[in-house]
């Protein structure tokens, strides 16, 4: 008897789980409509649940009750149109940075944390600026160490990153700072950085940025999805920074002009005080905006990839023809290799951002083919340039710069060749889109490793020249 009751009990529980799943599905379905806000879905779900309760009380089972209740709710297209008529502004999604409802102080606190971190970073930069004096190299070497840890601090706070991970990352960052500052790099005759120092300085931001990815993911850096989130974050942040810089530049220009007319020299204040605080401030506020607007506004980066993928294909074909016709061997030097790296990085970004916003379940379409063409064109151009470069290196030998450029080229090449292979399988319908997506995120640490090698090992290997 008691067993029967128990069995009945679990049976009912299981049934209700099924009902809960149906509610979840319904929510997901309704939420996709832009005119219906999350609060409206809550309100309608309350209605739906009330209806289901009454119907089950009158003898229907869960499934039947749910079906009837959903049917009575009416055609969602019509309801959604009605909502759109009432709230047309919702079709222009609104960015609510700080909620107006009382009792939700979280966002205000977050803004406070962001501003505090931005000001602290500004103070650091200011100290650095004052101690550096005329020696600009000190500033160039350490600028990134003065700013990025504070951005990392924001995510450590926001994602509640375990202290062990945060401490490890801090230790790595400190070690890198020591390497960049204490290695006996040689400088040129006019105190300009030597080759290995320049390479170390230019590669540290890459290492630090990818380390930032670890805190961004809240420590779950092995997760492919979290890595993709970090890629999205990076793209959106870049776009925000460009916009903030444009706006800031306009304001500064107007202030400069007005003050100039009344005879006040704005420049000392600008250089000594405004920029040291504005630059880290823009970075942190930009990061905060990206965090706040997630899911609110369409991502911009993927939209840009749609525009630039066809244009880039045209550009690559032009370069390819020019290289083949004019004979690649005549004008090849290090600069060409660096240019090739820049082109491959561009192609990689186009690929990464269009992948980051693609619905993984959608079947292959025109745009996927276009991407494949883009990859093929980039690889063809790179192959021509690479052959030319290798013959050249065989003749004149290696330098630190050439090895760094060549190494990056190979790292990018492996990334893109395998991506092209997977994409071919996908457009032919032999492979799922998930495989392409996974490959992109799996490969990211290779860049961190390569950049770390350049920073740490190139100095000793090439005699700090």
């Amino acid at each position: 008897m008691s067993e029967q009751t128990a069995a009945g009990g679990t049976g009912r529980a299981a049934e209700h789980t099924a009902l809960e799943e149906q509610f979840d599905q319904w929510r997901g379905y309704v939420q996709r409509r832009r005119a219906i806000s999350a609060a409206d879905v809550d309100e309608m779900e309350d209605h739906l649940r009330g209806q289901v309760n009454d119907l089950t009380a009158s003898g229907l089972d869960d499934d039947e009750a749910f079906l009837v209740a959903v049917k009575r709710m009416g055609n969602l297209d019509e309801v959604s149109r009605e909502f759109a008529r009432e709230h047309s502004e919702r079709l222009w999604k609104q960015l609510v940075l700080v909620p107006e409802e009382p009792g939700e102080g979280g966002r205000w606190r977050e803004l406070g944390v962001v501003l505090a971190l931005a000001i602290t970073a500004g103070i650091w930069v200011k100290i650095l600026l004052d101690t550096a004096g005329d020696n600009e190299l000190v500033l160039v070497r350490n600028g990134v160490f003065a700013v990025l840890p504070f951005l990392a601090g924001y995510f450590v706070w926001k994602r509640r990153v375990p202290w062990r991970i945060a401490a490890t990352l801090l230790a790595i960052t400190a070690a890198l700072a020591l390497v960049v500052n204490l290695y006996p790099f040689e400088s040129g005759p006019f105190d300009e950085p030597g080759m290995t120092m320049f390479l170390a300085i230019s590669h540290t931001p890459v290492v630090l940025w990818l380390l930032l990815g670890v805190v961004y993911s809240g420590g779950a850096w092995r997760s492919s999805a979290r890595r993709m989130d970090f890629v999205r974050f990076t793209g959106e942040l870049l776009i925000y920074l460009v916009l903030i810089m444009l706006g800031g530049g306009l304001l500064i220009g107007l202030t400069f002009g007005s003050l100039d007319l009344v005879g006040v020299d704005f420049e000392p204040f600008l250089g000594d005080w405004l920029l040291p605080f504005a630059i880290p401030g823009a970075l942190l506020v930009g990061a905060w905006l990206v965090e706040a607007k997630k899911n609110v506004v369409e991502n911009i980066a993927p939209v840009l990839t749609r525009v630039f993928t066809p244009l880039t294909i045209v550009m690559l074909l032009a370069i390819f023809v020019a290289l083949v016709v004019n004979g690649p061997l005549t004008s090849v030097d290090r600069d060409l290799l660096i240019l090739m790296d820049a082109i491959l990085v561009l192609v990689l970004f186009l690929l990464l951002y269009s992948i980051s916003a693609r619905d993984p379940l959608a079947p292959p379409g025109v745009f996927d083919w276009m991407q494949l063409v883009l990859l093929g064109a980039a690889l063809a151009v790179d192959a021509v340039a690479l052959v030319a470069m290798l013959t050249r290196i065989a003749e004149f030998g290696f330098t630190a710069n050439k090895v760094a450029a060549l190494g990056l080229n190979l790292v990018l090449l492996v990334h893109l060749v395998w991506a092209a292979w997977l994409a071919t399988g996908f457009v032919r319908g032999q492979r799922s889109f998930g495989a392409i997506e996974r490959w992109q995120t799996q490969y990211l640490p290779v860049y961190a490793a390569w950049a770390a090698i350049v920073v740490v090992a190139f100095g000793p290997i090439f005699g700090f020249v």
Binding site: A39, D40, M44, D46, H47, Q51, M73, G74, E82, E86
Partner: protein, 120 residues
């Protein structure tokens, strides 16, 4: 019985305001009340109630607050405002005119054939 869509739309505002004039309520309860009042003969499309409530809120006829139901779910409650009561009174006068006119029409109506002859 099927009631014409336009008729439902025209009567929805005074019905909702009238129900809320009795006291604060929420979506599903308002709908149940409409069913009770019409003896189940007025079937609304449930989803359409919410855009309507939001329009009344924007017009300032009702005020919405979020509360919790007895099982702890988020629930939006609506209460009528002074403006809402005024609007209700106005609608009521309009409907009185309409229904009196209709009443006379119904009284004038004779059984089928007679009407046709009259027109001819």
């Amino acid at each position: 019985m099927h009631i014409d869509k336009d008729l439902v739309a025209a009567s929805a505002t005074p019905l909702v305001l009238g129900i809320l004039a009795d006291g604060e309520s929420y979506g599903y309860a308002i709908l149940k009340r409409v069913n009770e009042l019409s003896g189940g003969r007025m079937q609304w499309t449930d989803g359409m109630l919410y855009p309507l409530l939001h329009r009344l809120e924007r017009l300032g006829y009702v005020r919405a607050t979020w509360g919790t139901s007895d099982v702890g779910r988020r629930r939006k409650h609506y209460a009528i405002t002074a403006d809402g009561r005024e609007a209700l009174a106005e609608r009521r006068q309009q409907w009185v005119v309409v229904s009196e006119a209709l009443k006379q029409v119904w009284e004038d109506v004779r059984p089928g054939p007679a009407v046709i002859e009259g027109w001819a």
